[in-house]
Amino acid sequence: MPKKPPVGDDPVLNRSLGRILLIASLLMIASLLWALYDETYGLRPWKDYQKRFVSLYSRHLRRIQPAQSRAEQAVRQSAEYRKLSEAVTKAEDSIAPRISDLDRETNQVVSRRLSVITEPFAITRSEIAALIYQIETSTSQSVKDALQRQIDAIKAREVTLRLASANGSGEVVEQEERFDFDQLEAEFNRLQARRAELGAQRAELVKPYNELRGERDTLLGDRLTGLTASQVRGLRARMRNFELGIRQIHVAEVDLVDRCESCHLGIREPVVLTRADMRGEEVFVSHPNPALLDLHDPERFGCSTCHNGNGRATTSVRKGHGRHKYWLWPLFYRENFEAGCHQCHAQDLVLDHAEVLNRGKEIYYVEGCVGCHRFDGFDTESEALTEVQSSIHTLVEDRKEMGKEIEQSVLAGDNAQDNAEVQRYYARADELKQQISNLDHEMERLEVRSADLQIEQKRIGPSLKEVRFKMRKEWIPVWLENPHAYRPSTKMPAFRLDEGQRRAIAAFVWQTGDEGELPGQPRGNAVRGKELFETRGCMGCHAVGEGDAAQGSSFAANLSRVGEKVHYDYLVPWIHNPQERQPLSVMPSLRLSLAETRDIASYLMTLKQADASYPEADYLDDPALGSEGSMWVKHFGCAGCHEIAGFEEEGRIGTELTREGSKPIERLDFALLTHEAKHDGWYNHKGFFERKLKDPAIFDQGKIKTPLEKLRMPNFKLADEDITALTTFLLGSVDSTLPEHFFYVPGDRGQDIREGWWLVKRYNCMGCHQVRPGQQSDMSGMARYQDPDLKEQLPPTLVGEGARVDPDWLARFLRNPAMDAERTERNGVRGYLHARMPTFRFSDSQIQKIVRFFEALAAQDRPYIPTRLEPLSNRELELARQLFTSKAAPCLRCHATGNPAHDRNATAPNFLLAKERLKPGWTERWMVAPEMIAPGTAMPSGLFQREGERWVFAGSLPPAFRDYAKDHAELLVRYMFQLTAQEQRRLMSRMPAAATSVASR
């Protein structure tokens, strides 16, 4: 018997676990509650967003509804809408009786009869069909006959049906009618045909009415900005029935899941939602550029393809945006979001909707980054040249081989056994001869291309072979010390040079410069030179004055202090023909006379700071210093931008940046700043790029390095927005993981546009011209051209240039804008402009690209086959002459005629050029509405008015026009396109006498 423990000691009896259990169960409940809460809310923060969105959006819709109703009401009450609306009602009323007749016959007679007839007819028909089948399959003639008799009996059987029909007074009555099978079939077919006929009649009748209704509804849609009241109501209803849930885009082919719209619910709403509309909640605003979504359907592209971020993450904003150390592609910050465009548009220098990225690429291209850092697609000429030359080499080898084989074949043929074999050897030799000639054709093409590429090669900076001719010796070390002090906007960056390095480089540059004597130039008139400088077009690329006072373009050097630096005797030949002195420069010739050039050079020599002083620099002639300098010139990669004797073949010294944006972060050397970067949250690509661009030496901080180990990148003193632009470009420069077909592959036109931009930017066409809608030329921003009279002195807009001019003409014009081999000191088209279209040293393929660029921008087909115009009848010729010279038509007052006295006041091109230069369709569009093509043009609108299907001159017409029924604008175009010099003289002789005397303002 076990010993009974004392009652007081029994833990079961006197120890209570209740408290522990209570605590444990409370803990369990608490953790359960927490788990449930976290499961429903904590892990699903988007639910809260969705609720807030629904409430805010509903509120907004409710708020805009009255205004939209009012706006809709206003449209409904507008005269035009009411007119249409009345027309709709009238049309409805006018067809109503006929419609009701048709409908009555259809519904009450035809359909009712059909519904009764169909069944007995169908049953009988199938009975007969069954018997026919038996006849076909039976083998005995007697059976067949018996069956046939059965069929005949069925056919003769009569049925009595109670059918509706219209009596003479139009009422529908039901009466009994008897039919045998044939009658039944005939009636059935008749009824069906009748029903179809009635339907067609009805459709024909309501067609005009439906068209009017469509017109009315379209008018409402067109006039009303935003949604109609009923559409708003629809959206509100949708919000009332909103289901909480993940909103995701799934692009299966790239296994992309983007749940961004689970919170960003306003992105694709049909109502534009601003921050203010959503009570400051930015998360709910509409996509700021819906045009981009039209181009890139989110259902196909997703969100994170362009924006980065972690599209699957839904548990927190930070994770969703990919701002997590383990996520490689954090969401682009607002200022850099255009980076996302680059991966698919890498070859586009200019992209719509991507101004920041465009700016970044432009800086990279024209400010000199590409001098040190290779980037796919940028400055490809030297690589292409190497390729072409190696192809030529291969061809030469192939040609030699083939030559040998010919000799062998001929020899073998000569010694062959039989004639058949002889023929085979000789035929082979002939085949090879022809193949060689084919190689020669290709060789020629490659040689042309090679010559072209040599023309196309350009450098960012000036040639240093010219320094001894060009500039004062003392200026060089001062410049090297701090280029921005001399010229704040210069492209030349500040290198980290110590005194010794600076002296050595200066000495080397000086000593390698070509030597020789330039002829002395007589001085010109600086006052006249200033006027010429400001009007001839120099300021389309160059500026004078710094900061806010700067006038002109920042594309090329700012010349505010150029007089301190250069020799006059160099400046004159340089300005006169830049390509002769420095073929690697992009500077064109303005076809100035020598006198004009001297005036301009004399003016430029006056541009200097009064107190500028430059210490003597005799050490530049020290040969020892020079040879030390050679090393530093190589080390710092000067030849990336400058032509330097002995450094022609020097490669780029920087790292390639084509895929810099996807370089693993560990390979970006934050050096001693790594810890700080991680701590302060800029340990990422953006942080690295921005800081490096701001201060390229920053990652040397605290490091002990020899001069050769120090980071070499110089400081470009970039403005903050330029740093943002470049950072955007670099962030986008990634090794894309998207499949090929996601990338933008333009058609022929798109390709022409893409290639053209590289030239338009390199040669700064936009310094003087407007190339695309909305863009302003650098020149048009100058104070001088704000005067309404001088505004007309601006170079012409090139928007629509491809539709305006004949491409062959444009090619000739680009080669020689004077359009004359002898008289080059003029503009070939617009003699009245002070600004000159310069002569660029373009290669043939560049000209082709530019011409194609403009043709493509204007959506022209290629090749261009000139439109054939109907020749003028004698009567039309006379009519056109009369109109041209009538008092009411002011054409010849402004357009040049070739008469020097008249042309002194001309402000528009000579009509004689039209035939060669213009396209007739454009010319007509221009004549009737020039403000559509060039807003602000001196050419007035309203010269013609619309009369039915034709344009009629808007002024008193010569009497002979009374019975001329054709288009007047077209008549003038046809006249213009057959104008000869002789005809023009004849016209001028008809003009009122005073046309030859000269008017002045």
Partner: protein, 267 residues
């Protein structure tokens, strides 16, 4: 046992409550939202009581040498030259005998902020007569109709080159119906020119109020109907833009105050 049951009820109930809240649609009582005012307050037009209206008048003098008015060479255009028997002079600088200037635009530049004035329905007239714009200097109110006429037997084009309004350039043959135009934005001044006859110039001042004037043959101007208050009077002249000044003036009810300006040729 009862106690346990009670414990269980709590989480189960909570669970049910949680899921009820978590699933299904959101309740939006659309009608329950704050009443939002959808209508804009109608603009209040300021009316000036004629009994208390004040007047500012004065003259615009010039100092120094003015360029001589240039003769307009209309010879190139017989249709224009034929309209005149006497030589025609440029209207850019027209000095009067009493050392005052004609064609100076004088207007209230500041002091009327917050007030709205009725837009006149009566059109202002700009005529082209004798190949000259009449008037040379025209003041209109925002959106006031401007009727443009061509009284000449030749074709003109009317080409305003504004900064704040929209530019247009329209041909006007003889005997065509007048053009009706308006300018929706304030601007002092909009140059108007004819590209066919480059000497033709007119200037249109567009203001949000009717308080402007142009100096006449005695160099005087008068701005009437002003509500009492403190104003900055501005002037504009096509040639002496640089010397343009403003003056402050305070007028009491029914008061008439004189303000003279002196323009100098900028050196």
């Amino acid at each position: 046992m009862m106690r346990l049951k009670n414990y269980l009820c709590l989480p189960v109930g909570l669970l049910a409550a949680l899921f009820a809240g978590a699933c299904g649609s959101v309740d939006i009582d659309d009608e329950d939202l704050d009443e939002v005012d959808g209508t804009d307050a109608p603009a209040v037009v300021t009316r000036v009581d004629p009994a208390t209206a004040a007047t500012v008048n004065g003259k615009v003098y010039f100092e120094g040498d003015l360029p001589r008015a240039r003769r307009l060479a209309m010879d190139a255009e017989p249709a224009c030259a034929g309209l005149h028997t006497k030589p025609v002079y440029s209207e850019v600088v027209v000095p009067n005998d009493n050392n005052t200037l004609r064609h100076v635009f004088v207007y209230v530049k500041e002091g009327l902020e917050g007030m709205m004035f009725e837009t006149p329905t009566e059109p202002a007239i700009l005529d082209q007569k004798g190949c000259i714009y009449l008037p040379h200097m025209l003041g209109v109110q925002i959106n006031q109709p401007v009727r443009i006429l061509n009284s000449d037997p030749t074709t003109h084009n009317v080409h305003p080159t504004p900064r704040n309004n929209r530019e247009w350039n329209e041909s006007m043959a003889p005997n065509v119906p007048p053009k009706m135009k308006q300018f929706p934005r304030e601007e002092v001044m909009i140059p108007v020119k004819c590209n066919v006859h480059p000497w033709m110039k007119s200037y249109i001042g567009v203001l949000p109020h009717p308080f402007f004037s142009v100096t006449g043959a005695d160099g005087s101007f008068e701005i009437t109907g002003l509500p009492p208050g403190e104003y900055t009077i501005g002037i504009w002249h096509e040639f002496l833009k640089e010397g343009v000044t403003t003056q402050k003036v305070t007028v009491a009810a029914s008061e008439s105050k004189s303000v003279d300006f002196t323009l100098k040729q900028a050196s």
